[in-house]
Point group: D3
Chain length 226, copies 6
């Protein structure tokens, strides 16, 4: 319902949230059972950022960023803004001034299923944004939306307080209540991969390391010479 702001949402334990920043988006996506990844059209405005934080969700009308201004007040240290318009929209909802404001509150970054602008300034400030568009088109401040209500963003449901992990591969959402379990699964996956990596680097084949040959033959794989 447009006009509602939910304050003081529950967030995952900060030690859990921060630990996610050690794992790539691909790892987190796998660790929670191949789910939670935003659509591939959400891309970083510059390469090399890698963040984890608690979602503050914002639903905005098309071409209107008033609710982002409202949301700033609900943000605290370690949060990530997650913004979706109620209709597809490529306007630049967010630029360097808003980044200055949220940076002052400890916000780690922005995920937005719309446009972003002042991207050269944002890179200079090292304030990372994952957006659908880069667009100079400005917005107005006329209509209400919501803050910290559940939203649909780039194909995933996001709730205020969910954990957001973002890097050059994109963005993944972890339900707040699943965060400790998924974090544990990330650790386990990384350990297993480290072992494989050493063997692959030494020239071993995954066909052998993972014991795939027998099953491949059973499925009917056959070799001929060219």
């Amino acid at each position: 319902m447009a006009g509602l702001v939910v304050r003081n949402i529950a967030r995952a334990d900060s030690s859990v949230v921060e630990a996610f920043a050690h794992y790539g988006v691909a790892t987190v996506h796998e660790a929670q059972g191949r789910s939670g990844a935003l659509a591939a059209y959400i891309t970083p405005i510059y390469a090399g950022a890698h963040i984890a934080g608690s979602a503050v969700t914002v639903s905005v009308p098309p071409g209107d960023n008033w609710m982002i201004h409202v949301a700033v007040e609900q943000c605290g240290d370690g949060d990530v803004l997650v913004v979706a318009p109620t209709e597809p929209c490529e306007h630049g909802y967010f630029g360097e001034l808003l980044a200055t404001a949220v940076h002052a509150r400890g916000v780690r970054g922005l995920v937005i299923e719309a446009g972003c602008r002042d991207v050269a300034d944002l890179e200079r400030m090292r304030f990372p944004v994952w957006s659908k568009h880069i667009s100079a088109l400005g917005t107005v401040k006329e209509r209400l939306g919501t803050v910290n209500e559940p939203i649909a963003c780039a194909g995933q449901r996001v709730e205020g307080g969910d954990v957001v992990v973002a890097d050059d591969d994109g963005v993944v959402i972890v339900r707040r209540e699943d965060a400790p379990r998924v974090l544990e699964a990330c650790r386990a996956r990384e350990e297993k991969e480290a072992a494989s990596r050493r063997r692959y680097a030494a020239g071993e084949l995954s066909l052998d390391v993972q014991g795939m040959r027998e099953q491949l033959t059973a499925e009917g794989l056959r070799y001929v010479d060219g």
Copy 2:
């Protein structure tokens, strides 16, 4: 009408044109009343360029770059080539050789609603291009188009002599006759934003700095605790 080249077009005063390079595309777009921005699919081939110049417009047939060769002669110091095909086309109309030619004449960059190639070389030369595609597909030299006739480029009309401003946010067109007025509006906007920026950086909220709270309440904004 294909085959027409307009020489010696009027351009805005060079001091005005150059001054635009101090303002971002987003600022210019706002300052002239939220208009003139090319579509967001026009993107820079490398990050960090920021130019302003006078448009030399070129209408080209699909897959044919002959008229760009014709247009080179019409370019002078401080110009920006603005090229649109008469039909949607992703060919690479422009590469390192043409860049060498126009660079020698003082051209600041290229905006093209089609493809560009040799992008590694262009970055090395620091010759900036804003294009719809990066494409190795070559073009022929068989048919005529126009130079300095009005064109439609990425959703905007552009005339020879209009001011073109381009940065990492995209491209904006300012009508030649509006340039002094828009430049003044850019200055005013920047001053106002500088004041806001200082307050946001100090932790103040735009809700307070811009006095939004009363109107938000009037519109029905309400707060609940999560």
Copy 3:
């Protein structure tokens, strides 16, 4: 036919393949008669890579990367993996672990008409990938495809052993048997362009260097003053 792996394919002479790395994709595309370029939606995951190698082709089911594991064994020094799914698919088929494995075998890079992940790691390793998507979405290992059978990739047919050249402009395929002839044409083209480049840099016009004025007039080009 799913399940077939062709071993020991013929490759072009390695001195020929390596020589292609001195020529840009745009040059190769022109030199073989404007053909062989993959669609422009195949883009590099980071800027600045430039490779040439022999194709090892892989046809994969949607969302299933098992056959890439099979293909690793067929790769040798100087090869380039070229992967296409049997259906459009944006999954991240390839990441840092597979890159470690193929890097150990001397593979130069990957071309894939689907998604790739761990792109920050891949850039760190300087293992170049040209892909349609960047996507964290993981794949399974359940169904067979083919290795070194002819495939359709991004609008071109590719056969095992064809020469692949890739740079920031995209990717071009050269038939194995045409490679020596096309390489010769690249050399000729570069020499011709070098001569033009010097004259353009000195301020000469292509209208004069290439003698275009007469034909332009014959086609009806006319000049008016603005």
Copy 4:
């Protein structure tokens, strides 16, 4: 959480749901304050269908339609299936056999943010589908998803029991609890439009019927002769 099926969800009163079928999607969207419309890429497979029903929501893995089979049992007379994959996917999840099954249970239609197939048969059966793709690509039955959990579909959140209205303009979602209020607003809007329609058909101008001239002048509208 994959694997959960919610049975016996609350639905809006059937007289309310059925009454929505008298109002077009555009009217419903306006009547609830310009919200709830799915993205424009969701289109009907044939023209002329117009339905209203209660949503049974299904979250499906990519390329896997097993959960639609599970969902059939949860459907009753007057329901509409609303299906979204956890990842973007163009497979044809639904065809004539499933349509036969749900038709036998009184289901009114399907909304799916993926592909649909057998569309000629579906039109012959007059079973309407609004989909993102038409695609012959088949799916497997291997992994779980959810039924009647909230989903993100084409940019909107949908919950089991929400009201779905669909016609040639697309699809709009009305929250179950808002349905009576929105229905009333639809009625009011239609009455007002009927009065305007009569006057427009008689040649009156909306400038006069809606009294716009004064405000237009105040905004600065001016007329010149061509």
Copy 5:
């Protein structure tokens, strides 16, 4: 300049305009030298309409259809509305009520580089629309644009009074002053095609009818048996 309405524009002679309705868009496009066609993403909302008329051009802000209401008054018998937003936008700017209003004034149809709604009603009224989107998303009436100023629409410049021809193949624009000449070229082309058609229907080959064989051989065409 937003806010300007040009009244009493010059239009082509009505007998010329009407005669264009006998020629398909493809024929007109060819007859004027392969130019003037709008981008292929502009498609008819229903099949079978074929119109010709004089353009009344409208530039509209994103999501705001106020200027279409203003434009209605400038429309007369035989006109076609041509509407483009100043920014890419998929809102449904035009529906059945506006169609009722312009139909009462003799308008033949609408071309819009944005969305249209109430398409089932519009088909019932046989009021044809060529649009970029079909979308239920409503618009507001808050900001000014222009009427009968030149606009950029779907890749082409359009001026008030230009001739618009539209059918199932799309839309083509003919400059007002070129209309008599292009009409004559259409007639000539149709006559030539009628002769070819009779010969092709009788089984003759275009290779012979158009005498292509010699040139094909000269270009190097050769035949082998499969």
Copy 6:
């Protein structure tokens, strides 16, 4: 190699080819192991056509349809033209005149990964086309391509003589040598589906008809009440 025409290709037995017209594209795709479907962007220009035939493949340069004229002579009764440009291209390569020519030779339809025009005429003639675009943009006749060489079309390899099946769901390719086996699999699949259809129409659930409940429970499916 541009310029090559292969005559007298082998085709599948005509009784086999014709029998495929009784099976939908989705059925054929499933029957040959979920493969061979062209990308979903290849759509029919009108609803209701359903054909099967032998492929005559044509590779064409961008914007140039000369080779289609060459290909006409290679077509016979029961063939289907399959055309792909060497570069992405939306031109209208094929219209009513060419349709007249190939219709006179018994050609069943056209599949083209580019544009088609005169679609109203083509529907009137009931000459079906599956294309990527509908576009009035005309082509030239200047450069050579190939006929009946293997091509890449919409993501699949196609060879002259392969079987093409097309309906409202899209297009599927069957290798010539696999045709009898795939036809047999289509028959078996249809029989099995007919049995399921009767039970579903009577209200039985696929959960029971296909015995899925046990495996679903084993995978962890659980039910809760809403």
